[in-house]
Subunit: 219 residues, 4 copies
């Protein structure tokens, strides 16, 4: 199921507006903080679909029945743009296990590109609730490749794919390549256009560069 959070008015839309705004983007700290706040809101929304169990805790004055998570999710982050976004999830699921994956876009001389998974540090995923965080869902290839790499480490019982900004083409690509069963897709906002260079328009630019600075073109 696809959930597009910007369809409902909330402060989340303000955070998204700020990361799009070419002027406000110049403050990298605010850009990262916005991604972090957006991650927190997604974490909260996803947490509403999780399973809780009642537990008794001793307060200073008595006993209370309180709901606690049956299990913590595994938070998978796609480097590097996903890092501040992932931090937001980690702020709320502070006891979660984490997976780190790099999905590097290698641009070829003719302008085409491939996505290579180079770095992958992943816990056992069997029977886990897995949340895959990527800042942007452009062509969709990096999330699909990451998804495939992650599933080598086990079969999660439920997967949430989360992205701040998506293209319609990227959503279609995911739907085509990832089975819909036990899957939720959570998006901040969806833009119509995807350029031949896989840039979302009007989009926001390169989220990794905006958060952490440009990398060397020869990297």
């Amino acid at each position: 199921m696809i959930h597009i959070l910007s369809n409902t008015p909330s402060i989340l839309n303000v955070f998204i507006s700020e990361i799009r705004d070419a002027e406000i983007q110049k403050d990298r700290m605010r850009f990262r903080f916005n991604l972090e706040r957006i991650g927190e809101v997604f974490a909260y929304e996803i947490s509403r679909q999780m399973a809780y169990v009642e537990k008794e805790v001793a307060t200073q004055l008595g006993f209370a029945m309180v709901p606690v998570l049956i299990e913590n999710p595994v938070l998978a982050v796609i480097l590097r743009a996903g890092l501040p976004f992932h931090q937001g999830f980690l702020n709320y699921f502070d006891r979660a296990d984490n997976a780190f994956i790099s999905a590097h876009r290698k641009t070829h001389k003719d302008g085409s590109f491939t996505i290579n998974v180079e770095y992958s540090q992943v816990p056992d995923l069997n029977d886990k609730v897995l949340i895959i965080c990527d800042a942007m869902l452009a062509s969709g290839t990096s999330i699909v490749n990451t998804y495939r790499d992650l599933l080598l480490k086990g079969k999660p019982k439920h997967i949430h794919i989360v992205s701040v900004l998506a293209s319609e083409e990227g959503i279609d690509y995911i739907k085509k390549h990832i089975p819909q069963q036990n899957l939720d897709i959570w998006l901040g906002v969806v833009d119509e256009e995807l350029t031949a260079q896989s840039l979302i328009v009007p989009g926001l630019g390169d989220a990794g560069d905006l958060a952490f600075g440009k990398k060397d073109i020869n990297t």
Copy 2:
């Protein structure tokens, strides 16, 4: 209208569980961080009732219509327990104006007490959306006294009263003394019992002491 967020399962309940738990409370930093996270979730929920307007922003690649807040709310905090809770609101409404109020409980020799508003730094509230944050809603007198003090600074167009932990008696007291029009009450969780000393049971203890340490009994 009264909104009790713990009626819906979410990670918010886990944060509330942690601040109740006498063992986990021993870590003051985590206690404050939980109040902060709870404040963020309330801020997000309240933001869904706010008014937004579409604005055009220039991205690096084009123009996008984005929703922005028509106006920022005024965040009023009741000292001192409310401070970490208020910080959560400030994390999300980072451009808001703020009001600081102290509502000090003065205990008399016979065990009874009165609430005095001593400190009050408040912006003009006329026609504003006002959010009053107090960590606990016990007897309700401190919020009602604060409310009255705040209204000396103008007539807000809408008021949200927010509290992490409330007693049923406190809710009744508010309903009796604050007009329900243009009012929303947002609560984390509601406990049944209120002792003669105005302690919520099972509650969590003294939120101010847990966040910042005991104060001198003669203060």
Copy 3:
């Protein structure tokens, strides 16, 4: 002894530059964050004068002798401008007790003003290390009045007075009214001029308004 941290080059000076800059000040979140970072740097510098004792801790692989604080300081904050500054201290002394004091400037019709301590929540201070945080040291009256109010709650063994921005006149006033024994004064930067309205020039403006928004003139 007086320590002026800006006499040594460090990133602290950049934080101070940013809170002075009328353009950068417009971002309240960054203004508060700068005060918080400045508080952390002061906390670290002051911590170098504290007393530690060696304790054995069990690591996963053996035992290590580690230095721990003999006692946590008490952090006193002067409302409201001091709050983000105090947060920086609390980030580093996360197990400290805290005192909250309001020192309100009441301006009279003739332009003169008095400082009243209205709100005061203070732990037992006997034999404690006390750190008094105020964002600005202008005329010095608010810190001196706060100091006197605090000492009603006991006799600290050592007092640190900390301020981001001070006037020379304010320093003189403190020296005249507070005994120098067991006292350290920690300042970010010192400006020469203090106007008749007790504004530091070039200064930075009203730190409370910059952090939290203007308050009603009739407050």
Copy 4:
């Protein structure tokens, strides 16, 4: 030059004590927060060696000459344990460019291991001040390999290597393989023993696992 910060008493030692303590480590959030605070203290200490220039800024009330960084450093982080540590640096050098590198330890059947650099996103480093952050300096091979990989992207004018916990053997290894000119090594604390499995004793355990959870052994 080698700087060992724990040689001077300060609150930094308390943060290091906490990340060593097998009991306190169980709170991952606190573990990450301690790494972050440690990163901030290192950032501040390193910033004292940086070059500043006086600039005039317009305050609300006049003009002030303030020192600003001549240039921001490049912050290189070794994944994944280095991430919370790097966050501390980023909190203080919030406008810095960043480099992300993975140095993965591949353990062989005979117990020996090699370090492979798999992921590398690095800006132009020519003539830059480069700060390389790794949580642990055990055998030293991961920092030396990272160093070599980084230098493919240019020749920095000064390099700072920073690590929270080091072994003497690791320090020797760095000294042998990295030219000492224009190099500073910043360490929190140094332990004597390094096991055949390259574990620092008494050390603290696996910083990556403690911050983010265990990864699958087959990863």
